[in-house]
Amino acid sequence: MQKIIKIIISFIFLFVISIFYISLTRDTNYNTSSLINKETPEFKIISFNDSNYYTRDDIKNNYTLINFWASWCAPCRIEHPILMKLSQTKNLVILGINFKDKEPQAKTFLSELGNPYDLLAKDKNGKHSVKFGIYGIPESILINKELMIIQKFVGPLSDDDYNNIIKIIE
């Protein structure tokens, strides 16, 4: 009996220490991946020029990249050329969501750097961003034809991300 207890105790400590060891080598940065492989949430979001609403129906039948951006966000400028490149590709719709921004500034931003967005909407108070699990911009979400979320990009899109997206949609 005593022997069993001794073995159990030793094993508990061994287990704890090995978990500690494993954790040391893990990436501690948090990314919200809980939405990946889930269906795109229902949404109804007003277009940038207030003319109409966009819903899930507008992004059916095609790959869609939803991109949250703002003119006050410095990293958004960095990723912009990649968005421009992506806008050249076929069978990808880019839905831009202008996040907590002022309209004139947003317009200047697009006229300066170009407009890569097939659809452009705005999220004035940021509420829509929560539906998509956004916690800081820029963030982008790649959605397939069946409206499944297949990838999430936190932070500015990189060249690797570009290649990745191209590979997926082809």
């Binding site: 948090y30 809980s34 940021g126 509420k127 916690y135 800081g136």
Partner: protein, 119 residues
Amino acid sequence: MKLNLLLLLFIFFSKFSFAAENTVDPNLIHKNLRCLVCQGQSISDSNSDFAQTIKLVVKDLIDEGKSEDEIYEFMSDKYGDWIVFKPQFNTQNSLLWILPYIALIFGGFFIFSFLKKRQ
């Protein structure tokens, strides 16, 4: 002394029977949600863009009549379990919730075994 205690008990209970309303307190919810972009702060403690947005959404959800737990569930659906400070009671977290009490019972049993069986 016993009388005092009884009196106190009475005062507290009477205070409670009146205050038993069933409203959801947004402040409480803010306190129990983690601000993901801040170092260890809660939504309530932070003033970042993210925290402000979450506060707005929490308010909407309360207006829609969602309960406290439903709001936590919504948030962990969108952002993962990391955002909620109160871990859900599920299989993965069952040890976390149960083990302390097992330890408590086990400890009590242990002490009891040291006591004289008969006085």
